[in-house]
């Protein structure tokens, strides 16, 4: 569809796509799809989110364990996360998200090792508490430099009613380290979103107040980065900007973060929140208990970075505000060069996004800096407050889809013919086979960082290298070439 998408056309498309469903499924799915209307300020009126997926459709969601172990706890480098339960959950969530860390794996950093209690039938029948206690002893012997342990429950632990809290308390006293039981059994909630919440609550209850009474050398410029998981080095690319403008980053939650950093976070002056969905809970808690204000920011693309840096600086005095201007000015020539190089190659290209967390709205600014247009966006596990924010960032008459099914997404792509899709690994190869340029945006398609000014240069290069790759014309076999060209002429 080369012409502009109008509201009527988009609405007609949604109805056409929904046509194949049975009556009841159609009614349910219709609530999750909408055409953006900027005049509406409350997404609740036009889109339903955070509901159970329909049985029988292909959904891309994860589970509460994925949200807790994979997203929030996994990247903390000096805490050993025990995947308590059968072996698979831990094996498939081991370092796949490329949360980079500085440290020596297996000595003082444990992000990319799978620790599991490997439940067998006898553990289900007789309970796994003894095994857990033994496991913690073994960990202590093999990895003495770990600062803490978290017990990430898998489904069976909740089903058989093990008391991991009692074991954790007992062992914490024995080994003298923090041991956190996390009740993130996969069956809780409708998606990984509840796992984020459970993980935040566990941090609140077991870690956050540990150093409240201890002295800490404060400066007026202390901040913490919340909700940056250092995918491909994202948090580092963000941190250098904040430090360059004169702030002191006390903690990174949780990419390349440590237990000590998290315990010191209640002493900062401002919490900077990148991924709202997975860390707003702890930010709100710290605001209530410690009076620390929090601020959402966006480090994708020079326009949004400059906006965010100025907003962050507005919470501090003139030295920081000057620092922010200095940083923006310093990177401006480099950013102009990036845009000059790639904008001509990417101008007017259309993008559809379907990711999780913050990316469907945060990356819109970066695409617009490159002259590209986001024509559809959706989240796997967002809540209504995410859609409130998304509707402001997206253009009018663009598609917004919640927990989109495999079929719906493919149909949207077939009809709207975007020049680029940004989504996850499960969609990647389906769209490759449809000859649509695709970036895996969960872990930056093995590239990155994409945050910060340095990240934008990589982002622009990656988008260009994907969209303008000559391979996309080679998907049709020679005997179908003629019809393809005829199709093209007709269109």
């Amino acid at each position: 569809m080369s012409e502009q998408l109008t509201r009527e056309k988009a609405q007609a498309l949604i109805e056409e796509v929904l046509e194949v469903y049975p009556e009841k499924a159609k009614k349910d799915r219709a609530k999750h799809l909408m055409v953006n209307d900027k005049t509406i300020t409350q997404s609740k009126k036009c889109i339903t989110s955070n509901r159970k997926s329909l049985p029988g459709v292909m959904t891309q969601r994860g589970c509460a364990y994925a949200g807790s172990k994979g997203v929030v706890w996994g990247p903390i480098k000096d805490i050993i996360d025990i995947s308590h339960g059968p072996v698979g959950c831990g094996a498939y969530s081991r370092g796949g998200r490329r949360n980079y860390f500085a440290g020596t794996s297996g000595v003082d950093a444990f992000c990319d090792i799978n620790f599991t209690s490997d439940f067998q039938e006898k553990d289900i029948v007789f309970g796994g508490d003894k095994k857990l206690a033994k496991l913690i002893d073994e960990l202590e012997m093999l990895f003495p430099l770990s600062r803490g342990i978290s017990v990430q429950s898998e489904c069976p632990v909740g089903l058989i009613g093990d008391d991991i809290e009692a074991v954790s308390k007992k062992k914490a006293a024995e080994i003298g380290k923090t041991v956190v039981p996390v009740r993130c059994e996969g069956f809780r909630g409708v998606s990984q979103s509840l796992g984020h919440h459970i993980a935040n609550d566990a941090v609140r209850d077991w870690i956050l107040s540990a150093r409240d009474e201890q002295p800490f050398e404060q400066t007026p410029y202390d901040v913490a980065i919340l909700g940056d998981y250092n995918i491909g080095g994202d948090a580092w690319a963000s941190r250098i900007l904040l430090e360059e403008m004169g702030l002191r980053v006390v903690a990174q939650w949780s990419g390349d973060g440590t237990l000590t950093e998290m315990e010191n976070t209640p002493k900062v002056k401002l919490n900077l929140l990148h991924c709202y969905r997975s860390m707003n809970y702890i930010a709100r808690h710290m605001e209530e208990k410690y009076g620390i204000p929090w601020l959402e920011y966006n480090f994708f693309g020079p326009t949004k970075i400059a906006e965010s840096l100025r907003e962050i600086a507005s919470h501090f005095d003139a030295t920081i505000q000057e620092g922010a201007e200095r940083v923006i000015a310093r990177y401006k020539p480099a950013m102009d060069a990036v845009i000059a190089k790639y904008r001509a190659r990417l101008e007017g290209k259309k993008v559809m996004l379907y990711v999780g967390g913050l990316r469907p709205r945060h990356t819109v600014g970066a695409y617009e800096d490159l002259g590209m247009e986001v024509i559809g966006a959706g989240y796997e596990f967002a809540h209504n407050d995410d859609y409130d924010r998304t509707m402001k960032d997206m253009k009018d008459a663009t598609l917004i889809y919640d927990d989109v099914t495999g079929y719906e997404f493919e149909e949207f792509v077939r009809q709207l013919k975007p020049d680029l899709i940004g989504s996850g690994i499960k969609e990647k190869y389906a769209f490759h086979k449809m000859a649509v340029p695709f970036r895996q945006l969960h872990s930056w398609d093995y590239s990155g960082p994409y945050h910060g000014f340095d990240g934008f240069a990589i982002f622009a290069r990656d988008m260009d290298m994907t969209i303008n790759n000559p391979c996309w014309n080679l998907f049709r076999p020679p005997w179908q070439k003629d019809t393809a060209e005829a199709d093209l002429k007709a269109a």
Partner: protein, 74 residues
């Protein structure tokens, strides 16, 4: 009854937050707003009406409270 949080807005006024339902909205009016008695009926910009038991005004915001929904959208 639901757990809610009342925060101060940067621009002045109060914000109501109900985590379970992801409702975050501006409080357009509060029934009692004196240091001795604070709370009562909260009217939100989205039309919702909630009731919190009147308490002495909290020394610091945000504060978590129990609230009852009286009327309006949810």
């Amino acid at each position: 009854m639901a757990n809610i949080m009342i925060r101060k807005r940067a621009e002045g006024g109060l914000v109501f937050y109900l985590p379970k339902r992801d409702i975050e909205d501006i409080v357009s009016s509060i029934e009692f707003d004196t240091p001795e008695k604070w709370g009562g009926e909260l009217r939100l910009a989205n039309g919702g009406v909630y009731y919190i038991d009147p308490i002495p005004a909290p020394a610091r915001l945000p504060v978590s409270l129990r609230a009852k929904r009286l009327d309006g959208v949810e």
